[in-house]
């Protein structure tokens, strides 16, 4: 995205192994200064390993990590100039808030009075004013999270790594802290990489999302790109498109003719891979229609509603078509065991050739 010299973080062909087990298989990633990147992946995909290798806690077995053009792959963590916020917060229980947040400044030989005033301004920024003398063991979860963030920010790092920073907070606090971290990053202008397994967190916070799968990067792109145009079945299902249906696509005239088992053929002017295709779609893409409705550019399949739940705002249905079940979100109320038509707008489906799915390892 940017030239290698101006990139804040440039990871090229990074390989990491734990003993004989390879965890990262050649990762390439370039992060521009001031950019907020979210690394998204299920547990065990190597996202935390990638973060810890950038921080210097884990030795790379191959490849390079450059920070503003400086190769740091053999540099110990204390000389990399990166701050990291740990998932466990890793606050030092034998120190006060002042001791924790001011630790980095003390190491840098900042005079005592200046440490006090700088810690006070960091705490003010994080809405923790007046807690300097408090033991960190006497803080709430949300306060600890802020102190951990404050400790990382106090040394005014150019790069901040965040390892699942919000996973220990309850849902309400999490949403609030999300926007706070984002605002701080805009205000202070540091480059941030955040590891998370929460899709919504990644979508709302990051400028670009990196989806990882089994030690490799599956897709990099803006939230819209990754969400609307996943480049693989894995990314599609990770971004929430968990319903799958087999389709048959044939060229016809200007566009294609799409047919699902048990449904009539639909002609469509969009582009689609030809042959056996598997479509991935999210439950809010599909909708339930009157059995007699017929809409252009959509596949319509007859089925029956077998289950209905109300998570709030809309209903969630399970629709059975033959022996397959699909989850569908619809705002209207429908009776159970009634025949309905499941409408799938072709433009919103993610279509992948079926062979590709069988070949690749798909979550």
């Amino acid at each position: 995205m940017t030239g290698s010299h101006s990139a804040a973080i440039e990871v090229s062909d990074l390989q990491v192994s734990y003993g004989s087990q390879r965890v990262l298989h050649g990762v390439n990633l370039s992060v521009a200064p001031g950019e907020f990147i979210a690394i998204l992946g299920s547990s065990g995909c190597g996202k935390t390993t990638l973060l810890r290798t950038i921080a210097g806690f884990q030795k790379a077995s191959g490849g390079a990590i450059r920070l503003f053009g400086r190769d740091v792959v053999n540099t110990p963590p204390e000389k990399r100039g990166i701050a990291m916020m740990f998932q466990s917060y890793a606050l030092w229980p034998h120190m006060t808030v002042l001791g924790n947040v001011g630790y980095g400044l003390r190491l840098r030989g900042v005079p005592r009075d200046e440490i006090r005033s700088r810690v006070a301004s960091v705490l003010k920024m994080l809405n923790l004013s007046g807690l300097e003398e408090r033991k960190v063991t006497n803080l709430s979860g949300g306060q600890r999270q802020r102190v951990a963030l404050g400790r990382a920010l106090a040394i005014e790092p150019e790069i901040l790594l965040l390892d699942e920073p919000l996973s220990n907070l309850d849902a309400k606090v999490r949403i609030q802290v999300r926007s706070e971290i984002k605002a701080l990053q805009k205000q202070l202008g540091f480059t941030a990489i955040q590891v998370t397994h929460d899709r919504e967190e990644a979508m709302t916070m990051a400028d670009r999302i990196v989806v990882m799968e089994a030690g490799r990067i599956a897709q990099v792109g803006s939230p819209e790109e990754v969400f609307d145009h996943p480049n693989s079945p894995f990314v599609a299902s990770f971004m929430g498109a968990e319903n799958t249906i087999a389709l048959d696509v044939r060229p016809s005239g200007a566009g294609v003719e799409v047919r699902a088992a048990g449904g009539s053929a639909t002609t469509w002017t969009g582009t689609a891979p030809v042959g056996g295709v598997t479509a991935y779609f999210r439950d809010d893409v599909a909708s339930l229609d009157d059995p007699n409705a017929r809409i252009e550019g959509s596949i319509v399949l007859p089925g029956t509603i077998t289950q209905r739940t109300y998570p709030g705002g809309h209903y969630r249905y399970v629709v059975a078509i033959d022996d397959r079940h699909f989850t569908v979100t619809d705002s209207a109320y429908h009776e159970l065991d009634r025949p309905v038509r499941l409408r799938l707008p072709l433009a919103s489906l993610h279509l992948f050739p079926t062979e590709m799915i069988k070949g690749g390892n798909h979550a």
Binding site: A55, P77, A90, W92, P93, H94, G104, I155
Partner: protein, 307 residues
Amino acid sequence: MSIKMPMTSSSASVMESPSPAVRNTRFERDPAPSAVSARAWSLGSTLTKILGLSVFAFLLFGPLANLVLWSFAERWYAPFKLPVSYGTRYWEVVFRPTGDAMSSLMTSVGIASLTVLVALAVSVPAGYALARLRLPWRTALMILFLLPQAFPSVAIYINVARVFYSLGLTGTITGVVLVHAAHGLVYSVWISAAAFAAVDKDLELAARNIGASPLRTFFTITLPLAAPGIMASAIFVFLESLDEFTGTFFVGVPQVTTLPLLLYNASMGGNYQIASITALILLVPSILFMLVIERFLRADVLSKVGQ
């Protein structure tokens, strides 16, 4: 004072036990036309409990009470069941500044303190290495520190005495400190390895991350967090040294006289008053230790001992 405490607690526990009995009988009065046998049963079980507690208390505190009695007995001979006359004469003898007891107390405390220093000098680095570094022979090393405990101590100390004699270490404080330290290393290495292992690695990494060198990290993060466990191991070593007899006997005699040796000499010489008072003095650090240990040794450290 240290003796009074356990005494009162024992009498308290004996006093307490009748109260459940009272509660039991009251409980049985209401539903009770056919409950005579049940009441007898409950009375019997209460009596058994009281009897059991008394026997237990006697076994625990009887010898201690006997020590206290002896320490205040100025004259006590057969056939009398209790001392003929009481007094504090022997306490004065023991605590006279020029007395043997005071000087051997000083020797004991001095040796114990030096032993702690020597043991910590080995066990802090060794404990850290065993807890943090990937050592190939880790288990073997841990067991190595157990070896001094694994063999009959008399046999070992006779040989140690022989070796020390050729090195000119017999009868010196250094020799005794070395013997005590070898003995104490078992506790100090195992406990400090556990204490270091209980420190979350992320806490160290967090310090490294914001600019601390490995050494700085050790002294500002790891060591303070492991300190309670290391303190506990130091106390263990101190008490073991204070109490140690066999090694001191073979290596230190006759120049070095510690409290246990004085106790041995006094009771061999039939001077039970001096022996009792020495024993009571030796009891003080143990009781202090029990109070301190439960503050310093937390469960998360204890769970890592020997891992």
